[in-house]
Structure formats: C-alpha cells, structure tokens
C-alpha cells in the first residue's frame, strides 16, 4: 500500500546504502572482551550486581534496573569481570562500565533457555519478560521498551507502527533484518499488539528498499498493513512516521500515545520475539559497519559491548585511515574520538568516513533564503531561533518552539551558508 500522506519538510541526502545493502547479516562475532556501560538507555542507570573478579556467564544479568524507567544489563560474553570503572561511551560521556574478559575456555553460545508461547501469557507477564531481557528501543533512542508498552490507563492505543523506514543514509541493518527475518519480526509485533490490545498494525518501509518490501509483503500477516513511504529524511522519526502512515499530528510536547499510537523499531520487535520465544536477553544486535575507509563494509550481528577496534580488526581492517567515526547515521549520529568505545544497545551502525566524505565547511552569514524553514520537519524557523540563541534570548527561543526540535539536522544539512544550526538548537534547548 502506498501512502499518500506527507510530513512537512525533510531532505534528500545521498543514500550510500548500496555499500552494505546486498550482503546478508554476518552471524555473531564473539569478542575476547567487552565493555558494558550501565547506562545504555534513557532513564536511570542500571546498578551492578557483580564485582571485580567474579566469573559471569553470558546471557545472565549483571546489572539490575533501578526503577521503572530503567533497564537491566546482561553479560554479553562469559568470562571474568576485570574491572568496573568509568569508560568512554558513544554519547561522548564517560559512564560506569563493567569490563568482562573471556578466559578462553567458556561456552559462549546461546542455548534456548525457555520456550514460551505468548498465547499462554498475560500482558503483564509479557511486559516483565521484555523488561527483564533488557530490551530498549533499538532505533537509536534506547528508550526502555517496557515503558513504551505500558501506557497510562487513560490513553488507549489503537495502532502500532513498526518502523522499518531506516531513513538515515548508509545504514542498512534494519533493511537486511526485514529481508532475512520477516516472520520473526511479525511474531514480535503480535506480542506488542497483544500487550497493548491494539487493533491496527502497520509496518512502514521507505520506497527505496524494494527487496525488503518484497519479503515483508510475502510474510505479511492478515492483520498487519504494509505502508510504503516516500524516501525522505527524517521519515523514520516517530512523529513524522505517524503523520505519514496515519495522518495524525502528535501535539507539540506530546507523545505518540496522545494520538493512540505506539511506534517500535523492527529490530526491537525482533528482540521481543527472541526474548519471549527463547528467553534470550538483549546481548546482541544487528548493526551496519560502513564507510569508504573499511575494506569490507558489512552488516553484522554483534555482541553488545564489543569495542570498535576489535570489530574493525575482525571484519578486515581499514583500507584508509578514517577522519571521522560516527556512531549512528551521518545525520544524527555522534562523532567519536576513540576506537575504545563499545557498541551499545542503541547503536544502529558505525560509519568510518574519509576526508572526502565529510566535506568540512565554513560558516558564513545567513542570507535569509528560508531553506531551513522549508526542510524543518517540525515547522520551526531555525534561522530565527539561531539568532535568538546567539543573543542568549532563551525565553524568546522557547516561545518560538525550540523545544520541539528533535535534532534531526535537516536545517544544518540544507543551509547554503553552512551555519551549524543544529549546534545552536542543541545549545538553546540545553539552556531553556
């Protein structure tokens, strides 16, 4: 089904997806050591239940959730806890992390722990399975999934949208997962529908992913509709995908549940399937490793906590030295300063970009062309906000809606004067 609704604004960065879109997701690489930050999710950090010197077994919990909006962490390899200390994370902050090193003789493979049939389980039981498995939103925001699946009583959810838009350039792991595991994704979706008691379900894919559309369409259950979306960044953003699929506008400052909607990434649905059907906690995920600096760009299923340098060594190393390493896509991803950072739950890909791929630009003065207004998916006026923030008129910026900015970067991407508008937006948002 083609979708005729349109969200406002958006840009068309070159996709670069063909670097990795045709290769199957490589199966698990088990590293010798992992670094597991206790704060890989939105919410309060988990609390370690192991100490230095302990032997831990893969797939078992090593840090427990602290409160409702929190998520536990599981050992992603078997081995010994060598230290628990501050370590760099992909968000550029340091966070308390558990270091595990394999001693060489442990069993690292997953054995099905518990075969469960979701039909025999209540919504509450399913939610606690999801919570205990440490599942968070795998699209990038890493919001604990069990929280999203527990809307307050007064909000009824009628529609679930599975997000397979993958609008960021370069990334193809969601696309590959939809090609390779469509049935499992839909089993995960069934569980989500059961928990929320929602009647409508959509899976939304951008129209540049024809092979994923083909496999998804073939596996499509009767109660799920396929929504083929225009290829336009940021199509995969929550409020934008709801607009595109359902033509509903999430109120400013509101959440999808305010319009009866829950959006879940396809990888999250897959993780839910694994947790419920086989008792597997979230200790690995599919990510895209790409960019012109890699000898062999790939999609690969990796254990959470694998350091970038180990990953790059495993897949064959560099062709040329990267100038910029980005966790996530090139639009919203975070630039890294070290290869010691680990893959975390919210990592959808890592880009190793060369000088040519990241043209450095010089800021010049705003010529009031209005491009930023045309592309802002939240219909803000980035140039006006930029002047407010520059002058530190933060309350004016707030009155002009700066809080609605979700930092997609479309304005800065399109700006002909190359003004780092997103920097100003972030700064302004931090100061209101």
């Amino acid at each position: 089904m083609n979708i005729s609704y349109k969200f406002y604004g958006g840009v068309h960065p070159s996709p670069h997806k063909n670097l990795t879109s045709d290769g199957a997701i490589k199966r698990v690489f088990v590293p010798k050591r992992v670094v597991l930050p206790l704060s890989q999710h939105t919410g309060s950090p988990a609390e370690s239940i192991v100490k230095t010197g302990d032997s831990v077994k893969a797939f078992f919990e090593i840090a427990k959730a602290t409160g409702f909006v929190s998520s536990p962490v599981h050992a992603s390899i078997s081995g010994k806890v060598t230290k628990i200390s501050d370590s760099p994370t992909p968000t550029s902050n340091r966070a308390l992390s558990i270091f595990i090193e394999s001693q060489g003789d442990e069993d690292q493979d997953f054995k099905v722990r518990q075969r469960r049939d979701p039909n025999g389980l209540s919504a509450e039981e399913l939610i606690s399975i999801i919570k205990d498995a440490g599942i968070v939103g795998l699209g990038g925001a890493a919001f604990p999934t069990h929280v999203k699946l527990s809307p307050p009583k007064n909000k009824s959810i009628d529609t679930v949208i599975l997000n397979g838009a993958e609008c960021e350039p370069y990334l193809t792991c969601d696309q590959r997962l939809m090609i390779e595991n469509p049935k499992e994704i839909f089993k995960g979706l069934e569980i989500i529908l059961k928990i929320l008691n929602a009647k409508d379900a959509y899976i939304a894919i951008e129209d540049n992913k024809q092979s994923a559309i083909y496999t998804i369409e073939k596996a499509l259950p009767k109660n799920v509709k396929l929504a083929v979306l225009r290829t336009k960044y940021p199509q995969g953003a929550e409020k934008q995908i709801i607009r595109s699929v359902l033509n509903r506008a999430v109120p400013a400052g509101g959440l999808p549940m305010d319009v009866g909607c829950v959006v879940q990434n396809v990888q999250t649905a897959y993780a839910i399937y694994e947790a419920v059907y086989s008792g597997k906690p979230l200790i690995e995920r599919a990510i895209t490793l790409t960019g012109s600096c890699l000898k062999e760009p790939v999609n690969i299923r990796v254990r959470i906590g694998t350091a970038l340098k180990d990953l790059v060594d495993f897949i064959g190393g560099f062709k040329k030295e990267p100038k910029k390493i980005i966790m996530g896509g090139p639009m919203m991803g975070l630039a890294q300063y070290t290869m010691d950072v680990p893959v975390v739950k919210g990592t959808s890909g890592v880009l190793f970009l060369s000088e040519e791929e990241i043209p450095r630009t010089r800021e010049s003065v705003c010529i009031r062309c209005g491009k930023c207004i045309e592309v802002c998916p939240m219909q803000l006026v980035p140039t006006t906000l930029m002047y407010r923030v520059k002058k530190e008129f933060f309350s004016e910026a707030q009155a002009l809606g700066i809080a609605g900015c979700f930092e997609c970067g479309a304005c800065a991407y399109e700006c002909p004067a190359k003004i780092p508008l997103l920097d100003y937006m972030k700064y302004g948002k931090a100061r209101i």
């Binding site: 607009r243 630039a335 010049s364 010529i367 209005g370 998916p377 399109e414």
Partner: protein
C-alpha cells in the same frame, strides 16, 4: 590511529548548495536578459553593464578591506548587485553614472548595514533610487531599439501612456513588448529572456512562485480593473505586465532573499503588497513606473511581516 579524529555535532554530511552557488546561479540566470539588452540597444549597453559590475566588485572589495573583513567578493553577490543596477538603467547613460550608482548601492545600500545578509533594502534598487533623485534627466532619457530610425530619444511605453502620447505606441504589438522591441532599461525590455533565466532558478528551486506570481497577478488585476481607458474593468492587463520593469522586478529583485520575508505566507503578503503599491505609484504618482519604489518600500516592512507570519510549528495548539 596516528591522525586525530574529527569530532563535531551532526549532521556530518551537507547538501551541495552554497551561498556562492546560489549567487552565481542568479548571475547566470540574468545573462539572457543582459545579452538581449545589448543586442537590442547596441554594444554601448555592454559597457554600461561592465562599468556597473566592475565598480560594484571593486567597491565591495575596498570596503571589506577597510572593515578588515574576509574578502568574499567572489561570492557573486556584488556582481549580482552590479548586474541588477545596470539592468535598471537606460541604455545610453554616461559611464560614470553606473559607477556612482554601484558605489551608493554597495556602500550605503549594503555595507553600511553590515554587508551581505544584513541589508534592509535591495542594494541595486537603493542605487537606482539614488540615481533617480540625483540625475533624473539621464535616468529618463530613453533609446529606441537600434534598428528603429529615430534611435536616439523616445520614451518607455508606460511614460507614453502617462503623458497621453498613446498614438506613438501605435504599431507596437504584444509580441514587440514580449521580445523587447521597445524603449526601456537595459535588462527589463526582453521579457522572454527574463523568463528563460527565471525558469532556470525555478527549476533549481532557488526561487519560489510566492512573490513573483502574486506580484504580477495583483498588478495585472488592478490594472485591468482600474487602469482602463474606457472605464473600470477595461484595462489591458498584459500591457501593464509587459511594458515596464515589472517582470525583472518581480522575478529577480522582489525575490532577493535578504530583503524579502522568510515564510511562504509572508512572501505572499509581500508580493501582493508590492503589486498594489506598484499599481498605485504608476496610476497616481508623477512617475510612470513604480516597481523599484514599491519593492523598496516593502523591503522596510519585511521585519514586521516576518514577525506576524511566523509559522506555527508541527503539533502546535493554542495554549
């Protein structure tokens, strides 16, 4: 890893478009109209254009040097000002005239306000207004196209209308007006060349329909409704659209980014107001033509238009 990695806030990729690219595209889009002007009025017009552009560039360079700013004369904006000023001059003006106009346009119209991006008024039109009040005779001495017998002095069609000399317009067809076979400013006469240039800018999405379409439509409507020779609703709308500087002004000067509103709603208000003012000046003032002053007056209203047409963001609700 010997070389340090670059760390910055995203996005990490950018669109190819740049200020320079846009400015040069507009310059390119103006070439057909200028070439047509030179073809119609003779090679002297080329000297006028060259004097205007060169002096604009030199003055911009000098002022940036004095202000100790980065010398960005090749960003194309000074050239654009020079081109537009020349296009708004009669073909036979002495060469010191475009030089003085460029000086005023760049120095007073643009740099005094802080340079590119900060000026309130369209620099080229500021320069033209300065020349109009300083040397009105030169600025209203027109030439016929070079193939006409009395090639030296004539008047523009709008001036002939204003001074009730309509018999001199006999034999001038709409096709003549469309192709530029008439008296007028260097760059305004050949409407078809202006449209070709503008089509390129529309195709590149550097300008949008909001200002030009509303501007031209309002002039056409008001002229048809109130500027007829035999009562209301008898005006020849096409004549009023083709015979002055309207097409040049609406497509290339009212659409100037810096001096026009940001939002589409604001642009529509701007275009409608420019159209109404142009009509009022043409009909009721001593001047036969009103495009330049209409745009300049509306430039002054841009901040207030922006303030009151600030778009409501996605999901906005009345608090």
């Amino acid at each position: 890893m010997n070389n340090p990695l670059i760390v910055s806030v995203g996005p990490h990729v950018y669109a190819k478009v740049s200020t320079k690219r846009i400015m040069w595209a507009v310059n390119l889009a103006l070439i057909p109209a200028g070439a047509a002007g030179v073809f119609i009025f003779g090679v002297y017009s080329l000297y006028v254009i060259a004097a205007s552009v060169l002096s604009a560039v030199v003055i911009e360079w000098a002022i940036l040097a004095i202000r100790k700013k980065e010398i960005a004369v090749l960003d194309g904006s000074a050239i654009l000002t020079g081109l537009l000023l020349a296009y708004n001059l009669p073909p036979g003006v002495p060469l010191w005239l475009p030089v003085s106009g460029s000086f005023f346009a760049i120095a007073i119209g643009k740099q005094v306000f802080g340079g590119l991006g900060h000026n309130i008024f369209n620099p080229a039109l500021t320069g033209r207004a300065f020349l109009m009040v300083s040397w009105p005779v030169y600025m209203t001495t027109w030439q016929n196209p070079r193939w006409k017998v009395d090639a030296i002095t004539t008047a523009t069609p709008l001036a002939l209308l204003k001074h009730n000399q309509l018999d001199l317009l006999k034999g001038t067809t709409y096709m003549d007006l469309f192709l530029g076979n008439r008296g007028g400013c260097i760059g305004e006469v050949c409407v078809v060349a202006l449209l070709i240039g503008a089509a390129y800018l529309f195709w590149k999405k550097y300008i949008s329909w909001h200002i030009p379409l509303t501007y031209i439509a309002v002039v056409a409507f008001l002229s048809w409704a109130f500027n007829g020779l035999s009562g209301p609703f008898t005006g020849e709308a096409l004549f009023f659209v083709l015979s002055g500087g309207l097409v040049l002004g609406a497509l290339f000067m009212a659409t100037d980014y810096v001096t026009s509103p940001l939002s589409n709603k604001g642009k529509i208000i701007f275009g409608i107001s420019c159209g109404a003012l142009t009509f009022v000046i043409r009909k009721f003032s001593g001047y036969p033509e009103g495009v330049s002053y209409a745009i300049l007056i509306m430039n002054a209203f841009v901040p207030i238009i922006d303030k009151f047409t600030h778009p409501k963001w996605f999901g906005w609700r009345k608090a």
